[in-house]
């Protein structure tokens, strides 16, 4: 097939121009926990940094900062991602949910309550991320098997070794939801 060079193409003139920003700070709109925020960030700012340093949402933790521990887990349009490896600029119109946005009330989410009940917290540093993964699992799969829970939390590292308690907390939360 003969390929034309881009400028020969009839639609070339209508193509949108490339949009380039940075390295200086740029304005950005983020939708977080149901609220819209306007902030100013440099392109290398990760979503985790923007949440913690600009929006004071410090429930999201940064541990490895390399995608390898899942402490920084938040939801993008409901799916758990590691926010330390997502640039704030890339979020676009997607809705960000953090641990602070799990409930709109003062009350705990049932999974948070189950974590306390089942002693699934030691130092607590990995806990917000783990809870985000576990709640996302229960939304998808209200009655998960132990295997499904293990798979859902397989990216999380807990230095304190709370894993078995996390399993019982999630199983219990799934039972409570049922009731």
């Amino acid at each position: 097939m003969l390929e034309k060079t881009p400028s020969d193409r009839p639609d070339a003139a209508q193509r949108p121009e490339a949009d380039t920003v940075g390295p200086h700070a740029v304005p950005l709109t983020l939708r977080v926990n149901g609220m819209t925020h306007t902030l100013s960030i440099t392109p290398e700012t990760t979503l985790a940094q923007a949440l913690r340093e600009q929006l004071d949402l410090t429930g999201t933790k940064i541990a490895c900062d390399r995608g390898a521990c899942s402490a920084c887990t938040v939801w993008l349009d409901g799916a758990p991602v590691c926010s330390c490896m997502v640039l704030a600029l890339e979020v676009g119109a997607r809705e960000v949910t953090t641990i602070e946005g799990l409930t709109d009330r003062e009350a705990l989410h049932p999974v948070q309550a189950a974590f306390i009940e089942h002693d699934a917290i030691q130092c607590g540093f990995c806990t917000p991320g783990l809870i985000m993964s576990c709640v996302a699992l229960l939304k998808r799969t209200p009655h998960p098997s132990e295997h499904e829970i293990r798979a859902a939390i397989s990216g999380h590292l807990c230095r304190c070794g709370t894993y078995p308690h996390v399993l019982s907390a999630v199983l219990a939360a799934a039972r409570t939801e049922e009731a």
Binding site: E17, A18, T20, P80, M85
Partner: protein
């Protein structure tokens, strides 16, 4: 991480013309300080940001491929499938067509990294990620793959390094999906700055150290992978991908094997067996394939084929343990493919 310009191209051509270097060329340097004037392509950014956070790559500009439309679909094409480069590992793992007809790919994608990473990481980025050798990933070790003078792995800590084809550099190819895709006979469609397309088989796309010590594949700067093509698969074909890791969670595999069998009853018409995490490129076990071809597969034959797959292994000082692990995983993968 260094500061950079963030470019959202309006078209593929704009992206290709803006790219001044591949990540491999942007990282290679004599001095140990990577160039600061490169404009490089970014997909999910999992590997790119990792390299930048470690100071191994400091580009002036990132070109975001993620917002270009139409690159994130899996579409039927000539009996096979055409997979967009931006399709995520999570999409691959969940796709029903892949799970039934090309299950080795779905398995490999679903077993790679963590759920959080699979949500972001793309297939093209997965194939093009740089190696995980710990000396390569350390700024303190300016090894030959980065433009330095020595390979630190041969005399150093090499328990996760290659047992095959380590000629001057002992990386294992980092991509789990590549293992499955080479076994499935996948091809890459690559588009250059002028918009011209070429296709190349994935097997030929990857480069051994003796062909080039500083890059793992034939991607040239200004080229974009625009599709990963899977050939049509007769209903008689079965495929599996098995991995074995130190932990059950998201660890990188110590051994992984993809097996694709074309079967008439238990008689093998054709076999493709590819070992990952064992060589600088996905390693085709031709002796094992030959052992199966035309034969009725049973436990004993699978065992013999597995031994054939490892007969030329040349373990380094710290990784002989990989040989029996691979032997077991090859045998299990053949038997699993039989009933897949």
């Amino acid at each position: 991480m260094n500061g950079f310009e963030w470019m959202s191209p309006g078209s593929l051509e704009q992206a290709a013309r803006a790219a001044s270097a591949t990540v491999a060329t942007a990282m290679a340097c004599r001095s140990g300080t990577p160039a600061s004037d490169a404009a490089v392509l970014k997909a999910g950014g999992m590997d790119l940001l990792d390299l930048m956070k470690e100071g191994l790559l400091s580009p002036r500009r990132l070109i975001n491929l993620r917002t270009l439309p139409g690159l994130d679909r899996i579409e039927p094409a000539g009996g096979g499938l055409r997979i967009g480069p931006n399709v995520t590992l999570a999409q691959l793992a969940a796709d029903e067509r892949l799970r039934t007809r090309w299950s080795a790919l779905a398995d490999s994608a679903g077993g790679a990294a963590s759920p959080q990473i699979r949500q972001i990481a793309t297939l093209a980025g997965n194939l093009l990620q740089r190696p995980r050798c710990w000396y390569f990933r350390s700024r303190a070790h300016h090894c030959v793959r980065k433009g330095g003078e020595t390979c630190f792995a041969f005399a150093g800590e090499n328990q996760y390094h290659a047992i095959f084809e380590h000629n001057g550099c002992a990386i294992v190819h980092p991509s789990t999906c590549a293992t499955a895709l080479v076994a499935l006979g996948a091809r890459l469609e690559i588009t250059d700055r002028a918009g011209a397309k070429r296709t190349v088989s994935l097997e030929e796309f990857f480069l051994l150290p003796q062909a080039d010590l500083q890059r793992e594949n034939r991607l040239e700067s200004g080229e974009i992978v625009t599709a990963i093509e899977l050939p049509a698969q007769p209903a008689s074909v079965r495929s599996v991908h098995l991995r074995y890791a130190q932990t059950e969670s998201f660890d990188r595999p110590l051994a992984e094997v993809a097996v694709v069998l074309d079967l008439a009853e238990a008689v093998c018409r054709k076999a493709a067996i590819v070992l990952g995490a064992c060589a600088p490129v996905p390693h085709r076990a031709r002796a094992a394939e030959a052992a199966l071809t035309g034969q009725r597969i049973d436990e004993a034959l699978a065992r013999a084929a597995a031994h054939a797959a490892l007969q030329d292994a040349m373990p380094l000082s710290g990784n002989a343990y990989k040989v029996p692990i691979f032997t077991a995983v090859v045998r299990r993968a053949i038997l699993a493919a039989l009933v897949a």
